[in-house]
Amino acid sequence: VTDYRSYSGGPLVDEHAEPPRFVGSACRLCGAIAFPPRRRCASCARADLEPAPIAPYGRLYSYTVVRIGRPHEMTPYAIGVADFPGGIRVLARLSGWAADGAGSPIGRTVTAGVADPPARTGDPRADFRLRVTERDGSDSSEAVRA
């Protein structure tokens, strides 16, 4: 089978973990971890990678609410960028956060999520989410700085 998409493996979120975790890639040769998973290691360029769970809690670094999208996209939707331990940054749509009337969510603790079933596309690259939690990130030694 020849497949040249940027990623064509299984789900990018382990929904059975508690809390759910992102699944990235680890280089078997140099150990570099990445999310989204890579086809080649960005550190040593070798193509010998295995799935690697990402630490469960991250901290939201920035966000926006997209009001004007591409023709097939329902708006508005929120997008966030979050940092997870181990030098992992995830950009994804936000879930668990109401855009309008809420203050800035920057600094909130986030974890891995998956789109609600009606919104799933079947492409794991489009279906993962950053879920904004009620957990107080300020005392979490696992979460990186806001």
Binding site: R5, S6, Y7, A34, P36, A42, Y61, S62, Y63, T64, V65, V66, R67, I68, G69, R70, E73, Y77, I79, V81, D83, G87, I88, R89, L91, A92, R93, A99, S104, I106, G107, D123, R125, A126, F128
Partner: protein, 378 residues
């Protein structure tokens, strides 16, 4: 190695040109550039052309209008830095000694694609998640607001300044000044960026003629020198400070070193301001203000026309407009006119050293995919 000299510049007005085709639109800019240089197309030995979405052979379609044959033509796609890259290649062709007269062109017709968002790689994970170009700058803006207590009204001042300048530029798409209230009350595109904090989709073309020093002596007594021409592509680095764009930082270091100048030497900057937050970030990158102090520099008036260091005297991408492939060349045209004292109502006071800057983004894991910086002097 010969230095490169800019000897002529021309551009069309940027804006909506319904029904325009690449060839005639580009030819209007080329004619103006050659006329200003006192040269004909028979003098041109090679040509480069920046374009993103116009299809095959845009440079040849422009030169076809003049019946030009045989010379080497190189078409360049590097997203919003396509025009800057076309000039960079032209400079390297002169410096190599192989050519004495090279034409660098940029052209784009976006109105034919309708309004709205530019197409991006459908296999890019960020794009699959719903990112688009306004949203990628909105992420930068919210982080900057979080770190430096910037308000939406302060962010709007970037657009207000650009439109003050654009109203004085006959080549600009927008000719009316806007107030802070106009900007903050415009339709929200991607929070916190309103429509008037976003550059318009534009049609337009620009062209410059560059020469070796020997060839330049035959056509001008007031040369404008290219002191630095830098092209970089950014590095893969997912965890980045969104308020410190490292692709431009790399290009800045190379350009300041090549030209042996620093921020204190500059008389003007034309920087890449597709969205209002970008200009504040680039004030800081180019050393006009410390990180976080960009808005203080803006509100001091230092970057307005008549200020210590005018930024985007043309109106920039926000007001002059942004026909992608043409923008980097239009910046060179603006610097050429300003340095020669030919910029009319928007002429800056001191005009010896100019810096121009465009970036092209975005792809997942990179700040930007392309960036050019040029330093020009009298």
């Amino acid at each position: 190695m010969t230095r490169t000299v800019v000897v002529g510049a021309g551009m069309t007005r940027f804006g909506k040109h319904p029904g325009a085709a690449i060839g005639p639109l580009g030819a209007a800019a080329v004619s103006a550039a050659l006329d200003s240089a006192g040269l004909g197309l028979a003098d041109v030995q090679a040509a480069t052309c920046g374009n993103v979405l116009g299809g095959m052979l845009p440079g040849q379609r422009i030169l076809r209008e003049f019946g030009v044959s045989d010379i080497p033509v190189t078409n360049v796609e590097n997203a919003c830095a396509s025009g800057g890259t076309a000039l960079h290649l032209a400079v390297r062709m002169i410096e190599s000694g192989e050519y004495d007269v090279v034409l660098a062109m940029g052209v784009e017709i976006l109105s034919a694609l309708g309004s709205g968002l530019l197409p991006q790689d459908p296999d890019d994970v960020d794009v699959l998640q719903g990112i688009n170009l306004p949203a990628s700058y909105a992420l930068r803006a919210h982080r900057y607001m979080h770190e430096h207590k910037l308000t939406a009204e302060q962010l709007a001042l970037v657009s207000v300044k650009s439109h003050e300048n654009g109203a004085l530029n006959p080549h600009a798409q927008f000719s009316t000044p806007w107030t802070v209230a106009d900007v903050v009350n415009a339709k929200m595109i991607a929070d916190p960026l309103t429509l008037y904090m976003c550059c318009p989709n534009s049609d337009g073309a620009a062209a410059v003629v560059v020469c070796s020093e020997a060839a330049a002596r035959r056509c001008t007594s007031t040369p404008v020198y290219v002191r630095a021409s830098v092209l970089v592509s950014g590095h893969f680095h997912p965890v980045r400070d969104l308020t410190a764009p490292e692709t431009t930082i790399t290009a800045r270091d190379q350009a300041y070193a090549a030209a042996a100048v620093g921020p204190e030497d500059l008389d003007m900057i034309e920087c890449h301001d597709p969205f209002a937050i970008a200009e504040l970030l680039y004030y800081e990158v180019f050393g006009l203000a410390a990180q976080g102090d960009g808005v203080g520099l803006l509100t001091s008036g230092a970057t307005r026309l008549g200020g210590r260091i005018p930024v985007n005297p043309s109106g920039g991408l926000l007001a002059r407009g942004h026909p992608l492939g043409a923008t980097g060349i239009a910046q060179i045209a603006e610097a050429y006119w300003q340095l020669r004292g030919e910029a009319g109502a928007r002429q800056i006071t001191n005009h010896r050293v100019a810096l121009t800057h465009v970036t092209g983004g975005g792809i997942c894991g990179y700040d930007n995919g392309s960036c050019t910086v040029h330093v020009l002097t009298t």
